[in-house]
């Protein structure tokens, strides 16, 4: 087959469409739905075991470990699960509600 002679390349039009906006982050309630359900199921046990005030690291369907600070728990999650999502949630009998006297959050 004889190769066809190609025409000199014509300059291509520069795309003028505006850049697409970046997708909004997936909310934790969606991304971590399985972990949140596991945490809520395990919360009474954690409270009964005296873990109130500490931070639970949860992956999939089970609580992996419990830590003194959220930073320690996130670091443990980073080390164990690398770039996969995981949940770090405080063990509290009554959930804390973040407040602002001046703004709505």
């Amino acid at each position: 087959m004889t190769p066809t002679q190609s025409q000199p390349a014509q300059p291509q039009p520069v795309p003028t469409a505006a850049p697409q906006p970046l997708a909004a982050p997936v909310p934790a309630q969606v991304l971590l739905a399985a972990e949140i359900a596991a945490f809520e199921r395990e919360l009474p046990r954690l409270l009964a075991e005296g873990e109130e005030g500490r931070w639970a690291l949860v992956k999939g369907d089970h609580v992996v470990s419990v830590w003194d600070t959220s930073g320690d728990a996130v670091q443990a999650g980073d080390e164990k699960f690398a770039l996969e999502p995981f949940l770090v949630q405080r063990v509290l009998r009554e959930p804390r509600i973040a407040k602002s006297t001046r703004y709505y959050l």
Binding site: P25, V88, Q89, S100
Partner: protein, 144 residues
């Protein structure tokens, strides 16, 4: 004690900050040979009446971050669940000669950021600092 001094504005204690991935996540991306998103500059305001630090959701988009938890917050419609992220925060001085750096800190997403701002810095950060407001000189100083 290191300190940073800023001019106050009609908005209050407003500053420019940089948010980025948390330190451990940057190390992981480096090890994996993956690109590291550049920190994003935001306009932030200090508020002693807020007990958490919060950022607008749109501010987190380009960083490709994943939430690590949930928190309850007050909204115009009542109590709502929002995402909690762990990020890094840098607060440079106005002349960029010094900065306050927090390589790891928790922030919540904020559905209703103050007009003109993407970040609200609350008492969780200020609790570890000394904040001096000189109203007559229209300046404030943060020592840490």
């Amino acid at each position: 004690m290191p300190h940073l001094t800023f001019k106050t504005s009609s908005d209050g204690l407003a500053v420019r900050v940089l948010i980025g991935l948390r330190h451990t996540r940057i190390q992981q991306l480096r090890r994996a040979g993956m690109p590291i998103p550049a920190p994003k500059e935001l306009r932030a305001i200090f508020d002693t009446g807020t007990d958490v630090t919060a950022v607008s959701e749109s501010s987190l988009s380009h960083l490709g971050m994943q939430p690590v938890g949930t928190e309850l917050v007050t909204t115009p419609g009542g109590v709502a669940i929002v995402s909690r992220y762990r990020i890094s925060l840098s607060l440079p001085s106005e002349d960029r000669s010094a900065q306050l750096s927090l390589p790891e800190m928790d922030v919540l997403t904020m559905a209703h950021p103050p007009i003109g701002f993407d970040m609200l810095i609350g008492m969780d950060v200020l609790a570890d600092c000394l904040l001096l407001v000189d109203g007559k000189a229209r300046r404030f100083t943060l020592a840490f």
